[in-house]
């Protein structure tokens, strides 16, 4: 069965295009286009806003041309058909946007939707007015769609080259703050000035140079990655271990040295990322390993921070007010951070036990909602006037001292030191997670996650084992909370909203549940680029939309890649090994199948 070059599923392409067009319109109305337009990526030609808007038809074209080939069917030859399918999708998308331009021009809905207006019109029509704008959106849509479809036609090497070049340019553009900062600190400010335009964004000529360099490198190092990996795989266990140790030391050295060459803003960012890595590692044990969906996880972060604040702050509300709390606890001295830490950890662990015990036997989905409830109860208590003599109510606790480590005090004014402090605890958390996960307890967690009743029937006390995971998660969160209090110097109930829990959950899921490196990468990428609940990321322009993106990401991950973007490498490799392999191996080992042998003796 061979098909002509124009034989495509036009209906499907159109459908995809219509969805894409509506997505673009939605993005416009939510404000993503205009809001992100301030940020230039490549100076005069590409802003973040356009990048977002223009990616949609491209992806639509790619998806439209991505036919599902049923098993046993002849795979259709790649060619102009893909371009056509992509083009149609892009055109349909362009049509939607064009129609929207007409509506936008004709009616005024700005009373309801603040983004409705001329700015949006300018964005979608490329400042050319409605008439020309419609033509442009059709053309741009069709062309980008065709490009997207055309990706399928490319040879694998070309695809790889394109990806590498695209990713390097974008990375450099996104990392502007970091690179600028770094170059400034090592005295190469002038290079940074050359690289980036004054209004932000990679300047055009340097962008071309980056493209050239990336191409050269990509071609030059072709196949080197796989080669290295093969080499690593070929090593025996001892050698691999040695290699891993080297890698570990290299990472540690980088973590120690790099911040020295980075300025305040970037170190601040790194410290924030570190706090979220800590939280994500903790939640990873609870959700990823033991399979307990805790969406009130922020509670432990809050308890850690508040406990630290109450113990270490000389002007804590309860020391100043003449209240019951004051008389009951007045013997408690103001503690330095390091002394308070064990108390904070034990206290948070105890709160974990207190919350965990009633919920741990519940059905998984009820447990999720109840933990959410506990998270909110704790926040509401922190907020209430009832406990405000101790915890400050909506005023929170201020003037929390930093961490006195003898030679200096680590606090928010020196993000570099905070980063080092966080890094120590991240290392500790990684160590704890890793050691526990690979131990008897870790195996029991996994078994419970896989099949709880069977785990119980195999002799595992599911209640205590799950509780242990819950409490361990709480303890890791308390590290983060304790540092957070010292870093920010104040704690407010509003720093501990439900959305913190959800963002951490997204980080864990994107990184791949139960997978330590994945979770760390997930935190670095997401918190680094989009930012945390209150903390800006590299693309600070996102602050308004990041929650929207986190939500979309969560849905997308569950629908498309529940195993995470960075699945456990070992597991994936094993996925490809077929049962046939085993039989071959058995036959090789033992001439004559063992089944024959069994018959002979039967």
């Amino acid at each position: 069965m061979s098909r002509s070059a124009t034989d495509i599923d036009a209906k499907r392409s159109t459908y995809i295009g219509l969805i894409a067009g509506s997505t673009v319109v939605f993005m416009g109305l939510v404000g993503i286009g205009v809001g992100l337009n301030e940020r230039m990526l490549i100076d005069p030609i590409l802003s973040l806003g356009y990048l977002f808007v223009l990616t949609v038809p491209f992806v639509a074209g790619f998806v439209a041309a991505n036919e599902v080939v049923l098993e046993g069917m002849e795979e259709p030859e790649k060619g102009s058909r893909d371009l056509l399918a992509g083009g149609i999708a892009g055109l349909a998308g362009g049509l939607v946007v064009g129609l929207f331009l007409v509506v936008l021009n004709r009616f005024d809905l700005s009373e309801w939707m603040p983004r409705w207006g001329d700015q949006l019109l300018d964005l979608f029509s490329f400042r050319q007015g409605v008439g020309l704008g419609i033509v442009i959106s059709l053309v741009v849509g069709a062309v980008l769609g065709a490009f997207g479809g055309g990706i399928h036609v490319l040879k694998p090497e070309a695809k790889r080259l394109l990806t590498i070049v695209g990713v390097s340019v974008l990375t450099l553009a996104i990392l502007e703050a970091v690179v600028d900062d770094f170059l400034g600190e090592i005295g190469l400010k002038s290079l940074a000035r050359l690289l980036y335009a004054s209004g932000g964004g990679l300047a055009f000529v340097p962008a071309l140079i980056v493209v050239a360099i990336a191409t050269a490198l990509a071609l030059g190092f072709k196949g080197k990655g796989t080669e290295l990996k093969n080499q690593y795989d070929a090593m025996d266990e001892g050698e691999q271990k040695k290699y891993n140790t080297y890698m570990m030391f290299a990472t540690i050295a980088t973590a120690i040295i790099l911040p020295i060459f980075l300025g305040k803003i970037v170190n601040e960012l790194l410290a924030n990322i570190g706090l979220f890595v800590l939280l994500a590692l903790g939640l990873n044990i609870v959700v990823g390993r033991a399979g307990i969906l805790d969406i009130g996880y922020v509670a432990f972060f809050a308890v850690g921070a508040y406990a630290m604040a109450v113990l270490t702050t000389p002007e804590a509300p309860w020391r100043l007010n003449d209240t019951f709390a004051n008389t009951a606890f007045s013997w408690l001295p103001v503690l330095p951070w390091l002394v308070a830490l064990p108390i904070v950890v034990v206290l948070t662990g105890f709160v974990g036990l207190l919350i965990g015990t009633p919920v741990i036997r519940m059905r998984g989905d009820y447990l999720a909602i109840v933990t959410l409830g506990f998270g909110e109860i704790i926040r509401l208590l922190f907020l209430s006037d009832w406990l405000s003599p101790t915890l400050g109510g909506s005023q929170g606790i201020r003037n929390i001292p930093g961490v006195d480590i003898g030679i200096a005090e680590v606090n928010g004014t020196d993000p570099r030191a905070v980063f080092w402090l966080v890094a120590v605890f991240v290392a500790l958390a990684i160590y704890i997670s890793h050691q526990l996960e690979t131990s008897r307890i870790g195996r029991a967690w996994m078994a419970i996650r896989e099949d709880e009743p069977v785990a119980e029937a195999m002799g595992i006390n599911t209640v205590t084992t799950k509780l242990f995971a819950f409490v361990t998660g709480a303890v890791l969160a308390s590290f983060s909370g304790a540092i957070f209090a010292a870093k920010v110097g104040s704690t407010f109930p509003n720093s501990f909203l439900l959305l913190v829990s959800i963002i951490i959950l997204v980080v864990v899921i994107v990184g791949g549940m139960g997978n330590i490196p994945g979770v760390i990468v997930g935190a670095v990428v997401l918190i680094g680029i989009l930012g945390g609940p209150k903390q800006p990321g590299l693309l600070a322009e996102f602050s308004e939309f990041k929650l929207l993106i986190y939500g979309a990401l969560l849905v997308f991950m569950m629908l498309k890649r529940p195993e995470g973007l960075i699945p456990n490498a070992a597991r994936t490799r094993e996925l490809h090994l077929e049962e046939a392999l085993q039989d071959a191996w058995l036959k090789g080992e033992k001439p004559g199948s063992d089944d024959d042998e069994a018959v002979a003796t039967a």
Partner: protein
């Protein structure tokens, strides 16, 4: 491990302390409530407690809020009954109804429809119909995009997805309509007057009447129509229902749609009662409605409605009747905490709800 005749080696473990701890929590909770109630009774006897009027006010407020929780709870209950997962985004479906209520009522107000008697009733009907359409469409869309592909996955997966949907919708509406809280036009003066010997405000009566009518409509639909029977059959056992020639997919969509419609009605009522809506309006009522569904027994429609009323009452009365007598200041701040505490307590004492769950065999656990 040498082969023959091994005696099992040492055994460590016992989770008796967990049970003890649980019992302690239960007793503690009972004691707390008991002492609070006692203090309240003493206060009343001492003549320094609440006046009869205040108590009546608390009841009326509680019941009218509870009616809305009940309406929203129906959606949770039906979806859990049929698919066995918590549709966390249901609160946002409610919010969509409330937002549409804001838009339509403002437009009608600007066109002079939001006054008089006949005109107002007609306008209200329009607002209700549009809100029902919006919420129903929203929930059908969500089902199609986010839940249908996950029909066969373990139940935590669609739950996480629905959390994502909820988060997405909140922030999408925030982006689309701006963060400011929206104010609905004030209803005509005759609506805010007080009626009957109980002196209930007109809006609250309206809320109760509309809620009762919707509930009755739903009851007729589920118990008396073919589609309703199909819904019950699918809730009982999907495979057998399919064998009996029921279109399971369509029935599931209908379930979502009916739940969405009820949430839409609740959204409009919320707008009428509080006159303020925003993108975050759906969150708390959503969780509370879920609590109501659990109180009444998930899958049990009458139970959900009753659970809603009960929760509304408790939430409105308990802070003043239990917490305040214990000397806790500013108890009204703890209203939401009380609702969450009710959820925890009901799951601690009677996880199958007061009126019993109605779930498919595979979802009972």
């Amino acid at each position: 491990m040498t082969a023959t005749q091994r005696k099992p080696q040492k055994v460590w473990k016992t989770n008796n302390w967990v049970d003890l701890f649980l019992t302690a929590i239960r007793i503690g909770a009972m004691a707390f409530i008991g002492v609070g109630l006692l203090a309240f009774v003493l206060e009343q006897a001492g003549g320094e407690g609440l006046t009869g009027g205040a108590i009546r006010g608390l009841f009326v407020t509680g019941i009218s809020q509870g009616a809305m929780y009940g309406l929203i709870a129906l959606g949770y209950s039906m979806v859990y009954g049929v698919l066995g997962f918590i549709n966390f985004a249901h609160g946002e479906v409610f919010m969509a109804g409330a937002m549409s209520g804001w838009i339509t009522s403002t437009i009608l107000f600007e066109n002079g429809m939001w006054e008089g008697e006949a005109k107002f009733v007609l306008a209200l009907l329009i607002v209700l119909v549009i809100a029902v359409i919006v919420s129903t469409l929203a929930t059908i869309l969500i089902e199609r995009v986010a839940y249908r592909p996950l029909r066969e996955s373990p139940r935590l997966i669609p739950l996480i997805t629905s959390i994502g949907v909820s988060f997405f919708m909140q922030n999408a509406v925030l982006g689309l309509f701006g963060p400011a809280s929206k104010t609905l036009p004030a209803p005509p003066p005759w609506m805010s007057a007080e009626y009957t010997f109980l002196r209930i405000e007109g809006t609250k009566i309206l809320v109760l009447v509309i809620a009762a009518v919707s509930m009755a409509g739903l009851w007729v639909f589920v118990e008396r129509t073919k589609t309703g029977k199909a819904m019950r059959a699918v809730a009982e056992d999907k495979e057998i229902a399919a064998l009996m020639g029921i279109d399971v997919n369509r029935t599931i969509v209908t379930t979502f749609a009916v739940g969405g419609a009820m949430a839409g009605v609740a959204g409009v009522l919320w707008g009428l009662l509080f006159r303020g809506v925003s993108a975050l309006t759906g969150f708390l009522p959503g969780i509370k409605a879920f609590t109501a569904a659990v109180i009444g027994g998930v899958g049990n429609l009458g139970g959900s409605m009753a659970g809603g009323l009960l929760l509304g009452l408790v939430e409105s009365v308990a802070p003043l009747v239990i917490l305040k007598p214990l000397g806790i200041p500013a108890v009204s701040q703890l209203k939401d905490a009380v609702a969450f505490a009710v959820l925890v307590l009901i799951l601690l004492f009677k996880p199958t709800g007061l009126f019993g769950e109605r779930l498919a065999a595979e979802d009972r656990a």
